[in-house]
């Protein structure tokens, strides 16, 4: 892979710009896709009883879709504030592991480090690490992919959250429009790409059964938190066959 690149570099900026443009197109298309998801988040947040301003603060400051959706899900179900906070934080734990990967790729210094942490989410990490794997000879493309995706998703996610919250606020009783089912479908869509290994499918099935069984027993919000135990039990021992394969390497 090195030689063609050196030729491209020798030819000057044109090839370099084409690579960057391709990364930028990818970043923008991901931004547009998550924007549509932001509309559903905004509408679901106001349906759960949050104000438009609270929905927008979640998207601006929390800025991690799964945790935001889980937070409003627990609040909407009548769960305690503590359960909502704990569920959001646990679901956001994967961002910490993304940060570990991105810290190596980005090597951010000074004010860039807290900023990079804020925009370290599924999408920006996926593009950054994918570029790093595709073009190990061009680390600046990985950095550009991370920041471009982060910027595109941040802009469209927040604009669409505001739009969804305002529209949802105007529509009134959103249950009538099937938005409670939309929330379940959104969680399923987030879960789907993580079900590649047998272990993750088993854990997902066990967690769903345990959570449903605990609904009549525990206060709202607690059944979801309780399944963290399922994950700890299932993950305590490594995959019996091949040491470190399987769920552990899944960047999600």
């Amino acid at each position: 892979m090195g030689a063609p690149d050196e030729i491209a570099d020798a030819r000057g900026g044109r090839a370099r710009d084409a690579d960057r443009a391709a990364v930028l197109r990818q970043a923008l298309s991901i931004g547009v896709a998550t924007g549509a998801y932001g509309v559903s988040f905004g509408a679901l947040a106001v349906a759960a009883g949050l104000s438009v301003a609270q929905a927008c603060v979640l998207s601006l400051v929390m800025f991690t879709g799964g945790s935001q959706l889980a937070f409003v899900g627990v609040v909407g179900a009548g769960g305690s504030a503590a359960a909502a906070v704990a569920t959001a934080a646990l679901l956001g734990a994967r961002n910490g592991f993304y940060g570990l990967q991105m810290a190596r790729l980005l090597r951010p210094r000074g004010w860039r480090r807290p900023l990079a942490a804020q925009v370290t989410i599924d999408e920006s990490t996926a593009v950054g690490t994918a570029q790093a794997a595709l073009r190990p000879d061009r680390p600046e493309l990985a950095r550009f992919g991370f920041w471009a995706t982060a910027g595109a998703v941040f802009a469209l996610w927040n604009a669409s959250t505001l739009a969804g919250a305002v529209v949802g606020d105007a529509l009134g009783d959103l249950r009538r429009y099937g938005l409670d089912a939309a929330a379940a479908a959104a969680f399923l869509a987030l879960l789907w790409p993580r079900l590649r290994s047998r272990r993750t499918r088993l854990v997902a099935a066990a967690a769903a059964v345990v959570a449903a069984a605990l609904v009549p027993v525990l206060p709202p919000g607690a059944p979801v938190l309780a399944v963290a135990v399922v994950a700890i039990v299932a993950g305590w021992r490594g995959p019996g066959d091949a040491g470190r394969s399987g769920a552990g390497g899944d960047p999600g």
């Binding site: 549509a36 998801y37 104000s51 603060v57 400051v61 929390m62 991690t64 799964g66 945790s67 959706l69 899900g73 179900a77 305690s80 504030a81 503590a82 909502a84 906070v85 959001a88 934080a89 679901l91 956001g92 734990a93 994967r94 910490g96 592991f97 940060g99 570990l100 990967q101 991105m102 942490a117 804020q118 370290t120 009538r176 429009y177 099937g178 089912a181 939309a182 929330a183 479908a185 959104a186 969680f187 399923l188 869509a189 987030l190 993750t200 854990v203 099935a205 967690a207 769903a208 959570a211 609904v215 979801v224 399944v227 994950a231 299932a234 993950g235 305590w236 399987g246 769920a247 999600g252």
Partner: protein, 101 residues
């Protein structure tokens, strides 16, 4: 805790987790068991959220329009439909079933 306090506390907690990845000692976060459990916690919580959002009505379990709506979402995900299509189709399915009932 008011809703605003919960919103701000949850935002702070999620940011702390993000920042921890940049600041924490790599040795600790790279233990295979920690990495494995973290990935499985995400899967378990998302699956639990699917189950609770589909079946819970307060503190009771209830089979209603959400179940066929989730089935539609599952088929569309299997057919590799985009996120928006999946979510919108689930909402439309539930709304139509409720309008008919």
């Amino acid at each position: 805790m008011s809703t605003w306090a919960a919103v701000l506390a949850a935002c702070a907690a999620c940011y702390a987790v993000k920042l921890a990845g940049y600041l924490a000692p790599h040795r600790w976060l790279e233990r295979p068991r920690v990495v494995r459990i973290a990935a499985l916690v995400t899967v378990a919580l998302l699956a639990a959220l699917v189950a609770v959002q589909t079946l819970a009505a307060g503190r009771a379990l209830q089979l209603d329009a959400r179940v066929p709506a989730l089935a539609v979402a599952g088929v569309l995900l299997w057919r590799r439909a985009p996120f928006v299509v999946v979510v919108a189709a689930a909402a439309v399915t539930a709304a139509l079933l409720r309008a008919v009932a």
